[in-house]
């Protein structure tokens, strides 16, 4: 959706746009309208009331037509406001860009300057500038522009700082581009939306500020009219003829309100987070709408309920709203876990691993997500039926998560021990001291070296591996029955990864927690888990004992996935990439989702949904040809 379309969806912004366009049209058309000369005095007809003959809005103390002065004054105020805004945006933008781009002392010097400017109350500073340059409309505009430069400089610098660290700026350097060219072609286009929004939201203020200076007699000089000087004129006769001040007052008010509504609307329209099909407040739990029951038919019964399972997932489907409608990201996912058992979920990016993991505790984002079918049973309760309160207790107490990089989930401003304490649900009568002791014990338990020092550290002071241990400690705080780890070691190097995996293995052994381990590395999962579920396009396509699946995959997709991973000690392994890419959720083919990329696909594969079939030896596979293919391989 275009920026304009998103702007037009907001009623307040549309109102603002209409007001502003009306005022601009009026100002532009002023010379062509049948107006009286705004500066022609008519002493005989002073302070005429609105509606007097020939003077729709009356006259002022010199007998000048207020309507004409108002429209020409509006023209002047708008022009001055726009000019001052452009000047401030240009200068502030350049300062911000240069400061961010060159950093170090250039940044230090420029930002010190901006801080000094900002330290003065703006009116005082504007007055000082006008006092130095002399009164007049141009100087007033200049003063207002100078006063507003710091806002632009700061906003642009903040945004540009993030951009100059991007690799594409480094790539432009490597392409032999000059600094100027990099600033103009790489950095500027990416701060332009922010610059526009800042300008749109400040222009109203700048018009007001200019009017303020004119009101004080420092801006527009007689006989020229602008909204501020008209207010100043009106003030002198406010008791006798209130309409003289009221007319420009109302116009200033409505104009500034219109500009601010438009500016806010523009800011929202340019915000990329508004791009989704469905917008709205994020919900604390994924919405559940199991209207269309009985979708859990395919392969559901094959998974069978497991005796004494801690987690039993049946026919779980979660759909996401897209601009083209609602489509399931995962469908009919069923599995069960016993205490102490570990299930690895593998698959390509976008195969639905994270959506599966998050849906279990209703953490998949709503909007746009909705759980449309299934059950998630933890100790007898169906999580999808729980009240929000019960769900909150369940999260952390019975089911806990570890994510890829805890840096994104840890509070950067809080010490580590405080964050772990916060994760612990205190027992009855347990004081702060006892909680801290428990936090220390947890830290020791996950193998954090020197817990005393790390307890007092902030997240950024820890290495990736240490942060991940903190994440695990927090997840273990209330001894959950089920621990879900979504790619917890992907960001780590092999050595650190190995140590974290050992930690997970130990937790399982010692605490008897069931583990769901999401990864796209089959080797890692086979190493750690008892069972593997291979996902493709939102479905489990193969499931079974880890070793068996890793060594002798039955599903063609699982086989290709394992074949394309390089393996240490086999430098000449062919690494045949799987051609093409997995389907998007709204473009899933009928029949086998893997058919377009499968070497063994036949017409029957495309005919209709493929059930997850029992393949013996505690294995399940979603392929109609697995038996044949097994025969060929043997």
């Amino acid at each position: 959706m275009s920026v304009l379309a998103r702007l037009l969806r907001q009623p307040f912004a549309v109102a603002g746009l209409a007001l502003v366009l009306g005022f601009v049209a009026l100002a532009l058309a002023a010379p062509f309208l049948p107006l009286l000369d705004p500066n022609a005095t008519e002493p005989a007809n002073r302070l005429a009331a609105p509606g007097a003959a020939g003077h729709l809005l009356g006259t002022d103390q010199l007998g000048r037509d207020i309507l004409a002065r108002l429209i020409f004054g509006l023209r002047v105020s708008l022009a001055v406001g726009v000019a001052a805004t452009l000047a401030a945006a240009l200068v502030g933008g350049i300062i911000g860009l240069v400061a961010a781009f060159y950093g170090r002392w250039v940044d230090g010097a420029l930002m010190r300057l901006v801080d000094v400017l900002m330290a003065f109350p703006y009116l005082l500073l504007a007055l000082a500038v006008v006092a130095a340059l002399g009164p007049g409309l141009t100087n007033a505009a200049l003063a207002i522009a100078i006063v507003n430069v710091p806002f632009f400089a700061r906003a642009v610098r903040g945004q540009a700082l993030g951009i100059v660290r991007r690799d594409y700026v480094a790539a432009a350097r490597l392409a032999g581009f000059s600094d100027l060219r990099i600033l103009v072609s790489e950095v500027l286009p990416n701060v332009a939306p922010l610059l526009i929004v800042t300008a749109a939201t400040t222009i109203g203020w700048m018009i007001l500020e200019t009017a303020g200076l004119s009101f004080l007699g420092l801006g527009a000089q007689p006989p020229q009219a602008d909204l501020g000087s008209m207010l100043g004129d009106g003030r002198k006769v406010v008791a006798a003829a209130p309409h003289v001040a009221a007319a420009p007052g109302v116009v200033v008010f409505v104009l500034v309100v219109g500009l601010n509504l438009l500016g806010d609307g523009l800011r929202d329209a340019l915000d990329p987070r508004m791009k989704g099909a469905e917008t709205g407040v994020p919900q604390p739990a994924t919405r559940v709408e199991r209207g269309r029951a009985a979708s859990g038919t395919l392969g559901h019964e094959a998974s069978g309920a497991l005796a004494n399972s801690v987690l039993d997932v049946r026919a779980l489907s979660t759909a996401f709203a897209t601009p083209r409608g609602s489509f399931p990201a995962i469908r009919d996912v069923s599995f069960a876990l016993r205490a102490g058992e570990a299930l690895g979920i593998v698959g390509e990016s976008g195969s639905g691993k994270s959506v599966t993991a998050l849906s279990l505790a209703r953490l998949a984002p709503t909007p746009p997500g909705t759980i449309v079918s299934g059950e998630v049973r933890i100790g007898g309760d169906d999580v999808l039926d729980l009240s929000l309160d019960a769900l909150r207790r369940l999260r952390g107490d019975r089911i806990a998560y570890v994510f890829q990089d805890p840096l994104t989930t840890l509070n950067p401003l809080m010490r580590i021990d405080a964050q772990i304490v916060e994760a612990i649900r205190p027992g009855p009568g347990e004081g702060a001291k006892a909680l801290r002791a428990r936090a220390r014990a947890l830290m020791a338990d996950v193998g954090l070296p020197d817990p005393g020092r790390i307890a007092r550290a902030y997240p950024h002071e820890l290495s990736g591996g240490q942060r991940q241990r903190v994440g695990v400690a927090m997840a273990l705080a209330n001894a959950p029955d089920v621990l879900i780890a979504d790619e917890p070691t992907t960001a780590l190097d092999a050595t650190t990864q190995g140590r974290i995996l050992e930690l997970f293995a130990r937790i399982r052994r010692e605490r008897g927690a069931a583990l769901i381990f999401v990864s796209h590395d089959v080797g890692v999962v086979a190493h750690l888990c008892d069972r593997i579920a291979v996902m493709y396009a939102g479905e489990i396509v193969e499931e079974g004992p880890a070793r068996a699946v890793a060594e002798r995959p039955l599903h063609p997709y699982a086989a290709r996935l394992i074949a394309c991973a390089p393996q240490l000690g086999q430098p000449d392994k062919p690494l045949a990439p799987i051609p093409g890419a997995p389907p998007a959720i709204d473009a899933r083919p009928d029949g086998c989702a893997f058919a377009p990329r499968c070497d063994h696909a036949i017409d029957a594969c495309r005919a209709g949904p493929i059930p997850l079939e029992d393949a013996g030896d505690d294995r399940r596979v979603r392929c109609i040809r697995w038996r044949e293919l097994l025969g060929e391989a043997a």
């Binding site: 050595t495 089959v522 190493h527 240490l568």
Partner: protein, 289 residues
């Protein structure tokens, strides 16, 4: 000349320090690091005592020959990326130097940086951050042809089409924006951009770490093709030993900014000599088992 604490003797023969014409025969080094060192921070603080500098890369030396593929491995924080950025002139060494065709370059001078960048280009780790979201990918790939070669528009267009085909994408995709591509496609476009100005060497900083296994296989296949088919030299930075072994002739193991072991890739990874390399290899083997 060898400094005390310099990298240990490589398994391969010592590079000749020759200069000028006689250095340009087939076996003489194309790109060298000569005791390259880089430290960050440190110096006198305004308040309180001076902080000690962090030495990210500590007197690293190596030589890269034409057509050779050198892997640089080590755990995170071992200085691999810092070294890679110095090799393309994005960072200046605090001490030591980078040499091209036997000639020492002064990376503080823009002329020398330009000379380096005409021969050495880079592929970045995160394909999403390596492409300007507001430019077409074709424009990104064209950039080095404008900045380093000064080619006219027709020639650039032809070259972009050729490069897109080479990395396995339709030439028509050049007019699209980065958000229309998957991570693997973007990384292949990143490779196309690195090849745009016909460099002799491409430095790849963890080019497949952000990609999942199947997409990684696509990019690795492309890199193997480049290695075998074009006489290009590659410097391949990665923490994944299996990936390095699948691609590289030689490997250099780094730890805390220093080179701990260097040699033929298969030999070093199959029978590491140094204790630290053993640790790395064991950790990787245990995961694969």
């Amino acid at each position: 000349m060898r400094l005390p604490g310099d990298s240990p003797p490589p398994h391969a023969e010592e590079p000749s320090a020759g200069r000028g014409l006689e250095a340009r025969n087939a076996s003489s080094p194309l790109l060298e690091a000569r005791a390259v060192t880089r430290s960050f921070g440190g110096g006198g603080g305004w308040f309180g005592a001076a902080r000690p500098a962090l030495v990210a890369v500590d007197r690293v030396s190596f030589a890269l020959r034409p057509g050779e593929t050198l892997g640089i491995v080590g755990e995170s924080g071992s200085g691999k990326s810092t070294l890679a950025r110095m090799l393309v002139g994005l960072l200046q060494p605090s001490a030591g130097a980078v040499a091209l065709d036997g000639e020492t370059l002064d990376l503080g001078r823009s002329g020398d940086r330009r000379r380096l960048q005409r021969r050495v280009q880079m592929v970045f780790q995160d394909p999403a951050s390596a492409m300007n979201p507001r430019k077409t990918v074709g424009a990104s790939v064209e950039a080095p042809m404008i900045g380093l070669k000064g080619w006219d528009a027709a020639r650039r267009k032809a070259r972009v089409a050729e490069l897109f085909t080479r990395v396995g994408l339709a030439p028509g995709h050049a007019g699209r924006h980065p958000h229309e591509f998957s991570g693997g496609q973007l990384q292949r476009i990143g490779v196309a951009r690195a090849l745009a100005a016909e460099p002799a060497i491409v430095v790849l900083d963890e080019p497949v770490s952000a990609l999942d296994v199947s997409v990684q296989a696509q990019v690795l296949a492309l890199l193997r093709e480049l290695r075998d088919g074009s006489g290009l030299s590659l410097v391949f930075v990665s923490h994944d030993l299996a990936v390095v072994e699948a691609l590289c002739d030689r490997v250099m193991v780094m730890r805390r900014g220093r080179v701990v072991e260097e040699g033929a890739c298969r030999t070093v990874l199959a029978a590491p000599r140094e204790e630290y390399t053993c640790e790395l290899v064991d950790a990787a083997r245990r995961l694969a088992a």
